[in-house]
Symmetry: C2
Subunit: 230 residues, 2 copies
């Protein structure tokens, strides 16, 4: 088995993603802002989106690193790869409104449909099977993938943390699209983008965040997942 320390990704046909513009819908939320920060630190061109352009611009200015802010529609239009980091309850409405702007784009869904009660978090099961499958159903002209579910928003946003030891499970039915997303994940120190199946197997990857929340609570951790033997 390979060492887990090196966090090297097995050779794959890594596409050159250096010129791609990455947009983040919901980029003013914790997860979205954290991903935007990490990708921008890695040298990627990043635009964060919000329903409110002024709020996105303010968040972008705080992040620095050349990050721009705009309303969600502009972000979708101007990006090559669009990360969907909106709350689950706004997921369907946001994507439905952006169907035209997202046509032809690589869409990366990282939404985790969860419910919470006094016993903690539990998985919700979207009618389409998963948030990612809902995105695919709503965006028939986009190249929908799923990734970046298991990252701690706390660690992502903590600039004193230089390296985040976790793998990024990347799912999708379009090989070239998942290769791009894997290459983007590879840019973040400590992370590897690992292909982990088709969209029909996205539900359990999304839902596993409920388990990581239990781990975090028990161990006072910011848990992630490393895929071993890869």
């Amino acid at each position: 088995m390979t060492s887990l320390d090196s966090a090297t990704n097995p050779a794959h046909d890594a596409p050159d993603v250096s010129q791609l513009v990455v947009g983040v819908l919901g980029g003013t939320g914790d997860q979205g802002r954290g991903l935007a920060l990490r990708l921008a630190k890695a040298g990627q061109q990043v635009i964060i989106g919000s329903r409110d352009a002024a709020r996105a611009e303010a968040s972008a200015a705080e992040l620095g690193l050349g990050v721009r802010g705009a309303d969600n529609a502009t972000v979708a239009r101007e990006s090559d790869v669009v990360i969907v980091a909106v709350p689950w309850d706004g997921h369907a409405a946001t994507l439905t409104a952006l169907r035209a702007e997202l046509a032809g784009k690589i869409v990366v869904d990282c939404v985790n449909p969860l419910g919470f009660d006094k016993q903690g978090a539990y998985a919700l099961k979207p009618e389409e099977g998963s948030a990612a499958q809902q995105a695919a159903a709503l965006l028939p002209d986009s190249r929908v993938t799923a990734a970046f579910h298991h990252l701690s928003a706390v660690l992502l946003q903590d600039e004193s943390v230089e390296r985040i030891d976790t793998d990024v499970m990347v799912l999708g039915d379009d090989r070239a699209a998942t290769d791009v997303v894997r290459a983007l994940a590879d840019l973040i120190p400590g992370m590897r983008g690992i292909f982990a199946g088709r969209l029909r197997n996205a539900h359990q990857v999304e839902a596993l965040v409920a388990n990581l929340i239990s781990v975090n609570r028990r161990y006072k951790a910011h848990a992630g997942l490393r895929v071993t033997d890869v």
Copy 2:
């Protein structure tokens, strides 16, 4: 973050499990036999079960290490902790028949309900929510937990592999029972038993095996999962 190499488990009230007898239902299958081998190598008393006592005895003799074989009912009766490693399609019937023998026992469900077609594996959703919840429904007098889902049967059975780098997610609503199961997982070199939530969050842990199968296919690996920052 802690080093992943050390595979040390954070301090917990680890119960002494050295005197517990571990039974494995479905102990002649790949997963069950592999688990029996690893636990026996770690010094645990192990009995493997099968519907056919003679078959279980033959498998036990092959394993050596003091492992005994018996019919499933005898195994359930004589064990303190009973690992359920039967195929999903025999799960409900096997447990229903053993309800009396399993009363009061710690039951560890490691069954992954999966379907297969030409695109690979996909998750099945049991009516009760998960295999583990089905077990809990069928065994109201047992202490049902879920664990050992993500282990490669190939690695478990390969005696040239001394250490298997993977964590064991342990789920359950009975804290003392999950502590016992975690302590058993800790016995196997390279593994740690990590509490990962209540039984209501077992489905995604079971279903994630479909994703690991995709990983294995793409990377020609025997993938496992390490929980980082714990």
